[in-house]
Structure formats: C-alpha cells, structure tokens
Symmetry: C2
Subunit: 310 residues, 2 copies
C-alpha cells in the first residue's frame, strides 16, 4: 500500500464567474486521493453521511482508491462547503460551512492503513492530525493546515508540526504561522517548528520549496481557462505525494519533480468543476504537461554567464 490520506470527503456548492454547481463531490481527501491515484495506491480515511451514494462511490472506484476506511454515519449529512470566487480566482469566499458528520470525526485506522509508507494529513483539526500521526511510522508524513487552526489552535498545531516531515500550505498561511511578512524569513521560522521541508503554494504563481539549505521555485502551468480553483491545493499535494510514493525516492531532485507533478495535476483540476477533469485525465496528458513545464522554465546550459559578465 502506498499512501494513507486522512481528511474530508465533502459536498461543495461552488460559484465562479464561469458557472456554478450545487452539491458536487469535493473535500480535501477526495481531491488529494484522486490526484495521487494516478501514481500510487491510495487508502482514504474520512467520514460521510447518508448523502454519499453510488455516484460518489463510483468516483473512487474508477480511480481504484481504497475507501474501506471511509466511515458512513446513518441519518446524518456529509460535510458541506458553499463558496464563491470572483475574477481573482486566488481568493475563495466561504458563504457557508456545514460540518455535519465531520464535527465528530475521529479517524480510525485499520492495521493495513497504519503500514502506509506515505501519509498525508489533510486540513483537519491539528489534534486529530497528531492522533493519526502517532499511529503510523511512515517514510514521509506531510500535512496541510489553514488560517483557522493557525489562529485558534496554535498550540495544538505546533505540537503536530513537531512530527511532520513536509508541511504544504499556502503563502498567506506561511506568513501567518511565522508572523513574518517576508517569505524567506517566514519559511526559515516554520522550518524551526519541526518540518524539514516546507512547500509554499502560491496559486497561479506556482510553488516554492524550502529546506534549511535548499530552495526550489516552480511556476504554475499557465492556463487560459481556469474554471474552478476549488481543490487545487489538495490536488497539488496529491500529485506531489503520489510521485514520491511511485519513485520511492526522498532526495532533493525527487522532491522537485514531485512539485512539478503536483503543479501539473492542479493545473488539470482547475479546468472543470469538482473532479470532472481528473476523471477524464490520461497518463499521456500528464507526461505532456510535465514536459511543457520543463520547456517553459528552461533557459539553456550552465556555462554561459561567465562569458558575458566575467
């Protein structure tokens, strides 16, 4: 088994300048696992209500995602997020959040799930992340979080971060967590909190990865049609962890490629609502876009500069 992901499976109602959808499949663990499934086996641990039916199940089935760890609560509804985006697709406005079954979520891991060599703790309460963390001993554990936990559950979050290898959060969250406006300084502070690697998601500006002694900057794939950014960050994390699991490497180069795969997967996901685009995605399309990202970042061989400014 490759990857264990613990997080939300939800329904989203989303409005963008280009259209809207009511009650479509969403949730961090959903987006993550669909993306990761292109590279690796994925075992998902989450909770849903009665409204999770055959249509939703079919999505996971199609992607061969193991949902034996998906708890179902009778007589209740799944987590529901309602939000919208303006023309600045980097900023989501939450209209309503109904936690429903998610309010009492206590992740339960099977013996098999505990053996997973790669673990992703999606954006849930830091204490629950830590509970999961303490039950596993993977090669790599990565985590996400959000402004709410950073602000109101800071102590718990700092405890959790102590045993996370890779933190994958967005730029504003890095600044908030470190209480520092400059991203380079902020990242250094976050790396003192536990993670040995920090991946900073910057939406249409790509991603930056910091360790104590290395730095990698990757652009996002430039898209003409961004339809719905919901799930982009989790899809990015799914591509990232999926590639790590597939390659079984944890060196710097592998991490960098993993980021490019993350960017590639996210670029597809935002082209349509929910996971619609991902369910039609092919390995060939992924390989092509990976190559394109290489092509758009390439600026030739290493021996040139001295000739000009020697």
């Amino acid at each position: 088994m490759g990857i264990l992901v613990v997080g939300s499976v939800a329904f989203d109602s989303v409005k963008t300048p280009f259209g809207e959808r009511e009650h479509v499949l969403g949730g961090a663990a959903t987006y993550f696992s669909v993306a990761a499934s292109f590279f690796s086996d994925v075992h998902l641990v989450a909770v849903v209500g009665d409204d999770f039916g055959p249509d939703q199940e079919a999505v996971f089935k199609q992607r061969d995602i193991d949902i034996s760890g998906l708890e179902r609560i009778k007589g209740q509804q799944s987590f529901h997020w309602k939000g919208q985006y303006g023309f600045d697709l980097n900023v989501a406005e939450t209209i309503d959040t109904q936690l429903n079954v998610f309010a009492d979520f206590r992740p339960k891991l099977s013996d098999g799930a505990r053996q997973a060599p790669y673990v992703f703790l999606a954006n849930i309460q830091p204490q629950l992340q830590l509970e999961v963390r303490n039950q596993v001993s993977p090669r790599v554990v990565a985590a996400d979080t959000m402004n709410y936990w950073i602000k109101d559950y800071r102590k718990d979050l700092l405890e959790t971060l102590k045993s996370v290898d890779i933190l994958i959060i967005n730029e504003g969250e890095v600044r908030q967590l470190a209480d520092e406006a400059n991203l380079v300084r902020a990242s250094r502070r976050v790396l003192e909190m536990g993670p040995t690697r920090l991946i900073v998601k910057r939406g249409e500006y790509g991603a930056v990865m910091f360790t104590r002694d290395s730095l990698f900057a990757a652009p996002a794939y430039p898209l003409e049609d961004v339809f719905d950014p919901t799930g982009a960050g989790d899809t990015f994390a799914g591509g990232f962890m999926g590639y790590l699991s597939a390659t079984a490497r944890t060196d710097e180069e592998a991490m960098r490629r993993a980021i490019i795969y993350g960017s590639v997967m996210a670029s597809f996901n935002v082209e349509e609502f929910s996971c619609d685009r991902m369910l039609r995605l092919t390995h060939q399309e992924i390989a092509i876009r990976f190559k394109e990202l290489r092509a758009i970042t390439n600026f030739g061989e290493a021996d040139a500069p001295e000739r000009i400014v020697g």
Copy 2:
C-alpha cells in the same frame, strides 16, 4: 554604441517599513541605465533641472554611462516622486508627483544616439515614445508604460505599440491594457497590438515572457531583505536589454537568459535605497546569482516522466 534609453532622471523621496530617504537619485532611465551598464554601453536621453549636481553626475560617470544627451534646464527642478510602501512591497503608494522639467520634455537625439542598435523607451508619454521610435531603426526596440497612459492616452499608446518589438510591463498593466483578467488571454491580445514579445513583470513572483508561440516563466530571486522596491522594474529592463546588447542574439534562448539577468539585477537593486547597491555590485556577484537562479529552478533531466506515468 549599445543601448539608447529615453526616460526620466528624477529625485525620489521614499518611505518603506525599513527606513526612508529624501531626494535621492531615481527615475526610470537612471535605474535602467545603471543596470544595463554592467553589460553594454548606454546612451541616456533625459532632462533634469538645477538640482542635478556633481553627486548625481558621479553616479553615471562611475558606471560609464554617456549622459551627453542629458538636457539641463536652468532655473527649474528635476522630476520629483514621493512615495511609500507598506509591508506588501509589491504596491507603491504615490504621495506626490512634481513633473517640473519633465512636463515639457521633448527628447532630442544626437546623430550618434539614432544609430543605437538597442533602444529602450522607458515609461513616458506614448507620443514622445513614438517620436523617438520614428527617429531610430534599431535591432530591438523595447518599451514600458503605465496605468495612466493605458487609461487616458490609450489611442496614442496603441499607435506607439505598433512599432515596439518588446513590451515590458507589469501584470496589472497587461490586464488593464487587454481588458481581460486571465493573463494568458490578456497576453495574446497584447501581442495582437504590435509587440512580438511581451514580458510580464510580477514583482516577487518573477516574470513571464510570451510570444505568439512560446512561453517562459522565471521566478524572482527570493530575498530575505527587500529594502526598497523602487526602480526594480526598470532595473529588470536594464539587465534584460543589457544582456541582449552584450550577446547580440535575439533568439528565444537569449531572450530567456536576458530575463534571468534582468531578475538578477532587480534582486540586487531592491536590497538598498536608490542605486546604492548597484554602485557596489560586481560582475562576480551577478554571475553567482545567475547560477543560483538556475539552481533553484532546476528539476533534473528530461527523460524521467514517462518512466513514472507511462
């Protein structure tokens, strides 16, 4: 002679969260020419008043910049810009603009200046840019502009753009000029206005370069200490044009490297007020940072993806 630049030489009063300076040397043509001078001969055409004295002249002299085309108006003051930045250093707030001698600026080109193979039309009134453009027949003519001209001098600007090879403007300006929120679409529209190449400056997120059939994305050099972003865009353009002039190439790879040199130069300039950092800068430092930018964008050889997602 390498590069002709026409634009402003000014005095700036700048306040940032890290300090402030009154009446220091600034102006687009100043920043541009100081950066370009590391790679190429530069001939500057601008206008100043009595307040431009030996101290300012020494800056250009130190960088071997030809200021024989710098007009001096007796009894008047130079262009003065007063502005400040908050913690979001991407956004400058203009407090006061005194055009002074710049209000009646009519660029006068010597016979020598007209022969320059590289011309940069810094951010001035589009009609003046066109007047200069019509007096030269360079290998490459690049231009900058700003929101004010895009909004209130649109017709003039569109006329000027017809005979510009490379337009170098920031992201918001691209969207405004094209009246389109999506950057990829907006860039396509701008390329229909005349320029064969559009370079989009994105501040701390780097730069993107579009042609009809190519795309290049470059990160900014990640800095721990950004002291004063004033002049970053013009310094970028100076590094870009300087490298083009030095290499005498106009192919895609040369353009890409030119962007990296532009980023490198801009990264130094923002480390201190005015041109202070640039006046201590060495070719070796430039070469090192160029290499670092290569290192932080590199993600290995080209043959990997198929092995993973074949």
